[in-house]
Amino acid sequence: MKRIKRYLLIYRECIRVAFASATTYRLNFFLNCIIMLLGDIVFPLITVLIYNSGAGFEGWSVYEVLLIQSIFTMSTALADMTFNGILWATMFAVREGNLEMALILPVDTMFILMARTFSIDAVGLFIGGFTIFTVSCINLPAPGIFMWLKAGALFITGLCVMMGIALFMAATSFKWVGNSRIPEIFESIKGFGKYPNNIFPKTVCIITSYLFPVAMIGYYPAAVLLGKEGSASFIVLIPCLLFLAAGILMYRYMVRLYQGVGG
């Protein structure tokens, strides 16, 4: 309990520092917020344009698809704010040989790199995602309280998948030093989570649900709110949590490897 309290205090301090850093370059902060918002909001806009032209995903209304994409956007925003920074922090530290500065601190290396890279720049993106989410919810049948709770649990699990992805990406940067293309590969795979899962072939559905469970980021929480989840959504929790565990283990292993091989 004492340890958790200490880690929460450190995290609070990191948030304070992130806020102080962001306010140092105010214009950069506002531009970042706007650019991130515009960049990710274009995607739901395309969905609207597709539906307005008469096309669309069979069995899914425009607001249902927007609901999936807004949840995906909010999840991405929260990930960017809280833990995605570990990828660039690790990549930079390994390349510059600065990881020692984190290793000499009496806290978990993975935690401190995540906490120190807390970023409030994605707050604009979160607001954008939340706005689309609200508009979608207004235009869809209201879910019951139990559905909200289930969707909330799946949304958190989706964040676990995002964290697993971030850790896998960060871990690879120990081996493939300075490979800035790695995130693009993971981002492409993550893109499957933005769409209704049943529009994909069965093999893709299995991969995105059980092997690389990106469907949990947007699709499954939205499906619960829409009453379309079927029986699979809770089974999918297991590979999601295993995915996160694998990411943590791999990251820790790579940190130990760094300590073992560096000169």
Partner: protein, 331 residues
């Protein structure tokens, strides 16, 4: 005093890639890279006593930083053992690092965009320092360093010397028992160096043990009581500063400004080591062979001079001699 650090047969070997600089070699490296083994630290043993200031010296690539990294627990040794305050640095890393501090002259713990005081608060949370202790320690250290005015300015606008002082405060806030300094005065002007050395002396007088690696021999002369010299991963000297000075025997350098040129010097234990000009020469005098009084007396008999100064053998000369003699031994 008890030993606070005990290093026994420490070795660090790692693999790296080697490739040439030509186009064909770069092209070839896309498909196949040549792996080479680097023996950064080779079977070194030493101890450091509690309350000591120990200097680790060596040329570039000697293995000093690798040794410091292993001592701080951020690198695993290939073999050998390290005990610092009864901790194994790599096995008990988290508990161990809460008891030590580190300043890396070429790496910063400070957060670039915000004032140092915010970085200090971050370390306060990380090390779990109470508000009372934090305020007290910060007050003492900012007074010693005279940095009260600029710890509230963004780090990026501070000079290197000001930043380095803040790095020291950052590393000392949790009152570590042992502090590792990796080239702490690199790039600093004489005043900043002086301030930092004063600070190290002050903290050492309060009981903190310091281990420092440096290229700056003045750091060693003014700070260290004991010196370890590493070259090509091997320990080539381990002893007190006095023992280091006497490595070449008890030798003094006598600089003379002559009235008339002197062609030869026939005093036992003395020889001309440098002729700056016809009337300006430097003589080395081995005090084991001839006393300084006797030397001056004999010198007055054979020549007349208008100025004389007696100096210690420069540390550079001693260390260069140690490096070279060990390399010659190997060959």
């Amino acid at each position: 005093m008890d030993n606070i650090i005990t290093v026994d047969k420490l070795t660090k070997e790692y693999m790296t890639y080697k490739r040439g600089s030509s186009f064909s070699e770069s092209l070839g490296a896309i498909f196949r890279r040549k792996k080479v083994s680097v023996l950064a630290v080779n079977n070194i043993s030493f101890t450091v006593k509690e309350g000591d200031i120990a200097g680790i010296l060596g040329p570039n690539g000697a293995g000093k930083s690798t040794t410091i990294k292993m001592l701080t627990g951020t690198l695993y040794p290939t073999s050998g053992s390290i005990r610092v305050m009864d901790y194994n640095p790599t096995r008990d890393r988290k508990a161990y690092v809460s008891q030590i501090g580190a300043v890396f002259g070429q790496k910063s713990q400070l957060i670039w965009d915000i004032p140092p005081v915010d970085s200090f608060k971050m370390n306060k949370a990380i090390y779990g320092i109470s508000n009372k202790d934090y305020e007290e320690r910060l007050k003492v250290m900012t007074r010693i360093f005279e940095v009260e005015d600029y710890i509230t300015r963004p780090t990026r606008v501070l000079s290197l010397g000001e930043r380095m002082k803040c790095e020291f405060i950052m590393a000392m806030l949790h009152q570590p028992k042992v502090v590792f300094l990796d080239e702490p005065t690199i790039g600093l002007d004489v005043i900043a160096k002086h301030n930092i050395r004063e600070f190290i002396h002050e903290m050492n007088s309060r009981g903190t043990t310091f281990i420092l690696t440096t290229h700056d021999l003045e750091d060693v002369e003014q700070l260290a009581r004991n010196v370890i010299i590493i070259n090509h991963g091997d320990k080539v000297f381990d002893g007190s500063l006095k023992e280091l000075r006497n490595t070449l025997g008890e030798v003094k350098l006598v600089q003379l400004t002559l009235s008339k040129p002197l062609n030869e010097l026939s005093i036992p234990g003395a020889c001309i080591v440098e002729r700056e000009s016809e009337l300006s020469i430097t003589i080395s005098v081995d005090l084991g062979v001839i006393g300084i009084n006797e030397f001056i007396s004999k010198l007055s008999d054979i020549c007349s001079f208008t100025d004389i100064s007696i100096k210690e053998m420069p540390m550079e000369t001693i260390i260069t001699h140690i490096y070279k003699s060990k390399e010659d031994d190997k060959q």
